[in-house]
């Protein structure tokens, strides 16, 4: 249904972002928390609009912006992500002297970019959304302005990111040349008319996959990930580990699912993604084994998780993919929140040794962190187990047995490094004094929410699965 309602979520976000910017410069207050609250309010309104338009299929700009349930589901996931990230950022910014109000505005803008990406099926619009997202991300990564690592992370992210997006654009150009359009549906229809894919079509598809492969950080386009994740401010790392991945996969779903039904030549792309996914699971987990910096380790683990999600893409089971994302959102943000909790003024504890004995010194933080790690490692009864289980069982149903075996072995490897943190927390005597700033209610709220989410999804996943079923049933390929 063509209606202006389709614009409301985006407009809300943009207005919010602008308001935050103007307030930041006009009211020069040292304490930026009020900006955080303003942006949370706007996020809530935006989420409200998304929930309102559930099942109504609003669209605008003759379907360049199309809010089907699939888009809405991802939008809501991303909004929740941003709210949680905003909450864990409040104290962090003042503690780690990143105290700039633009932070929240940039988060909102990044979110708006992601909403554009998930709710459009025209590659150029998707590209514009991607750029909005990327540019906010580059800036966010460098917001710790007097920390060399942070600005280096921003630099690497910027250079390699725009490098990748150049490939994406060229791929788009080729696809445009093949089909005289950039709308996914038209492109696929054009493929259907041809007897076999031309070189240009293949090259274009390949380059587009490269462009999004960079965003979702799959091997061999993952090299930037660890450095950027390590250098960026920790809440932003949490944001990166979910937001861009989610939209990347959403776009891949929109692009590839109709493509699988092109009778010919789709198996080439299929086998290509097969290889990529296997490599990603193996390499991500193997390198993670020898990391001692927690953020860097989580970066590699997120690469590995991208591998598992690729399995879901290959098995063409969108519901398992979406469920994985919901779980992944809670467990990953939870893990990063626990990492943030271990910090005080101008000091973050990121090395493995810092975690020795934490489990007894700060039992609550330790226990929650342990739960998140178990979930990441895929232990029952946490959500991580179910998510992996759905993905792998769907893959087996599709007959991807060998890939599943690789995945299971890889996740067995991963258990080792997740568990090592727990071993440090509970089975090592602390080597040096670690004292942390505990008056941080927002952070503990987030920890609690994520804990609840992980366990709820692990034990009673029923309702969310129903919602996902609705969302999947209504994917629109216009």
């Amino acid at each position: 249904m063509n209606s202006l309602n389709a614009m409301f979520p985006l407009l809300t976000l943009i207005v919010g972002a602008l308001l935050v910017l103007i307030l930041e410069v006009s009211i020069k207050r040292e304490n930026k928390t009020y900006l955080a609250f303003i942006s949370i309010i706007f996020l809530m309104i935006c989420g409200f609009f998304c929930v309102q338009s559930w099942g109504k299929d609003f669209s605008y700009f003759n379907n360049h912006l199309y809010l089907d349930n699939f888009a809405l589901f991802f939008s809501i996931v991303l909004i929740i992500t941003t709210i949680l990230v905003t909450l864990i950022s409040m104290k962090y910014l003042s503690l780690q002297n990143t105290n700039v109000g633009e932070y929240y505005a940039l988060l909102l803008l990044a979110l708006s970019g992601m909403l554009i990406m998930v709710s459009s099926s025209d590659l150029i619009v998707i590209f514009l959304g991607l750029e909005v997202l990327s540019m906010s991300s580059y800036t966010l990564a460098g917001l710790k302005r007097d920390d060399q690592k942070s600005s280096e992370a921003a630099l690497k992210y910027f250079l390699l990111g725009s490098f990748a997006s150049a490939f994406l654009v060229y791929g788009l150009a080729l696809l445009y040349g093949v089909s005289n359009s950039t709308s996914i549906a038209v492109i696929i229809d054009h493929f259907k008319t041809e007897s076999s894919l031309s070189f240009m079509a293949f090259a274009g598809l390949g380059l587009v996959i490269v462009g999004f492969g960079f965003k979702i950080a799959v091997v061999p386009f993952h090299m930037w990930t660890p450095d950027v994740y390590q250098g960026a401010p920790t809440p932003i790392t949490a944001f990166f580990s979910i937001g861009p991945k989610a939209v990347g996969f959403a776009v891949l779903v929109r692009l590839l699912y109709p493509f699988w039904h092109v009778a010919y030549d789709s198996e080439v792309i299929f086998s290509l993604l097969w290889i990529i996914s296997a490599l990603t699971m193996i390499i991500g987990n193997l390198i993670a084994l020898r990391q001692t910096n927690i953020k860097r380790m989580l970066a590699y683990s997120s690469i590995a998780h991208a591998g598992y999600l690729m399995v879901a893409i290959l098995s063409q089971d969108t519901s398992s993919l979406m469920f994985y994302f919901v779980v992944y959102l809670f467990m990953n943000i939870g893990a990063f929140a626990a990492v943030i909790a271990l910090g005080k003024k101008d000091k973050e504890y990121l090395e493995l040794d810092d975690y020795a004995g934490i489990g007894f010194k700060y039992p609550w933080i330790g226990a929650t962190f342990a739960v998140f790690l178990f979930s990441l490692a895929g232990f029952p009864p946490t959500g991580g187990f179910l998510a992996k289980f759905y993905v792998f069982s769907a893959a087996v149903r599709e007959g991807l047995v060998s890939l599943v075996i690789i995945g299971v072995l890889a996740s067995l490897v991963s258990v080792y490094y997740y568990l090592r943190i727990i071993v440090y927390m509970y089975m090592r005597e602390p080597t040096h004094e670690v004292d942390i700033n505990l008056e941080n209610p927002a952070l503990f709220l987030v920890l609690f929410l994520c804990l609840y989410g992980v366990l709820q999804l692990g034990i009673f996943p029923g309702n969310i699965l129903l919602i996902i079923k609705q969302a999947v049933s209504s994917i629109a390929f216009l």
Partner: protein
């Protein structure tokens, strides 16, 4: 009264939860009372439901209680539902009953430990997961319990993590079990592919309906068996169990003797239709079991650490259970599981009480003559030893005999022979243990001897209870000689164990077999007697006292020498050889090796992570070129 069984697991779970939250604040006394009470309560419930189960007709089996439709994705369903049938009943009774006794024992044993709450919380959590494992009505729930018990054993082995060895032992157990779990998960996945459900009932129906070809059945059965091998410490994944003795003794008794390690056997028995359908898998199970039984027994001969002897003996006894399942006598296997739970935990706990008395001394060479110091521990230890060595009219005799007879009846003579050989070894090393510990002259450190004391009643009374059961527990499953009716146990399990091809021998053969096994058991004891009581000082004394008898005694001594040279020494040498070369080098080697290789690859890949933008771009471009090349060709 039959529909309350589903609260059996929940009680320990709840108690463990309480201990997690308030553990540090509660007084020790309260903690111990709550923990034991919880287990006892679920024991009572198990008994009630057991009685209820016996009253309802077999057609109603198994009772199913759906709590929550847990997982539903597409056509995949796994409900959070418990089931209760004879097999479950036996397991639940063993877990809660023996578990309760061990909990009580731990009150005394852990009295002086600083992290008392953590211990009982973990023990309760373990009981909870174990009950989930045995009561879950589908493979996924079973897997949840499976992982849970693995986690608890990891936590409890590493309980004294200040000891580096303990932490390492925990890690080793964990890694080895993960290898097994991989097989288990794949097995579940395959079952789901071919059956379309993971509910035990659906699986059995599918097998009964012949929807599964033999080859598929073999594949699945073997994958599942990999998991069982890991959990129940069979060749080649048994290495973690001996190290697991780093944990507190009650833990060794509960987890590494009575319950967790038998999970594999339970799983095989639960999937008995599958294993029966694929004969090959069953044979492999039997063979692995037999080899493990013998191999572990040989290694038990040379150990000087009490708990390690018991650990190896546990491995060997688990081998027996797998023999039982492998030759199709699932009832016998479970029967042995059930008796073994009593006498092996009895042995562990009394070993613990010995340690307690000797302030932590584990080396048998440093003991001896303890009989008079430990008047209450000695007899129960002796009973346990007799029971395990298969001397008639104690529980171990009946179960072991049932297994060996059916092995013979099924014509697996190799398996049977290995079993018999293991009987000798078992009797030998158990009594070696007894004699070295309680008889002979004292070899104690004076320091230790100064505060040598019998354990408090809170520890010895549980021992006496267990001893009682080790004696009588066997009488529910009298051998077929006395007629099928009298084999209550097997009769009770029949609804679950649907196999009918337990070949029957005629009476005389069976009697001969029984007599034979008894004879070899006694022979083993006799050997031990000769070598560890007679030999040491007899000759000199006799030479001094009765010169006239010298020659005869000399001959006797000479005979001993012959025995020694011909039987014992080769045995010991061989086992030492096996232990040193195979066990230490090969298996630990492979474990460390795999760890090393993964580490190496990690190093290799992260070598490319130079941190230089240009290198990243280079790899990116190479990726693009390969990708395009792949696509365009």
């Amino acid at each position: 009264m039959t529909d309350i069984f589903w609260i059996i697991p929940l009680i320990p779970g709840l108690s463990s939860l309480i201990l997690v939250i308030f553990g540090t604040k509660l007084p020790k006394k309260y903690i111990s009372i709550q923990a034991c009470a919880a287990v006892f309560a679920s024991f009572v419930v198990s008994v009630i439901s057991f009685i209820g189960l016996k009253q309802i007709p077999h057609e109603a089996y198994p009772l199913i209680k759906n709590l929550y439709p847990w997982i539903q994705s597409g056509d995949f369903k796994a409900a959070l539902s418990f089931q209760f049938d004879p097999l479950t009943a036996v397991m639940a009774l063993v877990v809660t009953g023996v578990g309760f006794i061990i909990h009580v024992y731990s009150i005394g044993y852990m009295a002086k430990d600083k992290s008392y709450a953590r211990f009982f919380q973990n023990m309760n959590l373990f009981t909870f997961s174990m009950l989930i494992l045995v009561m879950g009505s589908n493979l996924v729930l079973m897997f949840v319990g499976w992982e849970g018990v693995g986690l608890c054993s990891y936590l409890l082995i590493g309980f004294w993590f200040e000891k580096h060895s303990a932490a390492n032992a925990g890690k080793k157990a964990f890694i080895v079990n993960r290898i097994g779990d991989a097989g288990f998960i794949l097995g579940i996945l395959f079952i789901f592919i071919y059956v379309g459900s993971v509910e035990f009932r659906a699986i059995n129906e599918a097998i009964g309906g012949g929807h599964i070809t033999q080859s598929i059945a073999t594949l699945i059965a073997l994958l599942l068996f990999v998991g069982a091998v890991g959990k129940s410490a069979q060749i080649p994944l048994y290495v973690w169990l001996p190290d697991a003795m780093e944990g507190p003794t009650p833990v060794s008794a509960l987890i590494h003797a009575a319950t967790m390690v038998t999970a594999g056997v339970y799983m095989v028995a639960r999937m008995n239709l599958l294993y029966t359908l694929s004969g090959t898998a069953a044979n492999i199970v039997a063979l692995v079991g037999a080899i493990t039984a013998f191999y572990a027994a040989t290694m038990a001969l040379t150990q000087n650490d009490i708990k390690r002897v018991l650990a190896y003996s546990t491995i060997s006894q688990l081998g027996y259970m797998f023999i039982g399942c492998g030759v199709g006598a699932y009832a016998a296997g479970i029967f042995h599981l059930y008796t073994h739970a009593f006498f092996k935990s009895l042995l562990f706990l009394s070993a613990g009480s010995v340690m307690h008395a000797l302030s932590g001394e584990l080396n048998m060479q440093k003991m001896g003559g303890l009989k008079k110091y430990l008047p209450r521990t000695f007899p129960v230890f002796l009973i346990g030893a007799i029971a395990i060595s298969g001397v008639p009219f104690l529980s171990g005799f009946f179960s072991k005999d049932a297994i060996l007879t059916s092995a013979f009846a099924n014509g697996n003579y190799l398996v049977w022979a290995l079993g018999i050989a293991t009987v000798v070894l078992t009797a030998f090393y158990m009594f070696r243990l007894i004699f070295l510990t309680f008889f002979g002259q004292e070899r104690l450190d004076p320091e230790v001897k100064k505060h040598l004391h019998e354990s408090p009643p809170v520890m010895t009374i549980p021992l006496q209870i267990l001893a009682f059961f080790s004696i009588v527990a066997g009488y529910v499953g009298l051998p077929l000689v006395f007629g099928k009716k009298l084999n209550l146990f097997g009769h009770f399990l029949e609804p679950v164990i649907k196999v009918s091809h337990e070949a029957h021998l005629n009476l005389s053969t069976e009697c001969l077999l029984i007599l034979f096994s008894v004879a070899v058991a006694l022979f083993g004891i006799y050997l031990a007697y000769i070598f560890y009581i007679k030999k040491p000082q007899t000759p000199h004394n006799l030479v001094a006292k009765f010169p006239t008898l010298y020659k005869l005694l000399y001959n006797k001594y000479y005979v001993d020498e012959i025995y020694n040279a011909t039987i014992v020494q080769p045995m010991i040498k061989g086992s030492e050889f096996v232990y040193d070369n195979f066990d230490l080098k090969v298996i630990d080697g492979t474990l460390n090796g795999s760890a090393k290789t993964t580490g190496f690859f990690g190093k290799f890949f992260s070598y490319f992570q130079t941190g230089l933008i240009k290198d990243y771009a280079l790899i990116f471009l190479l990726g693009v070129i390969l990708l395009l090349g792949y696509l365009l060709f």
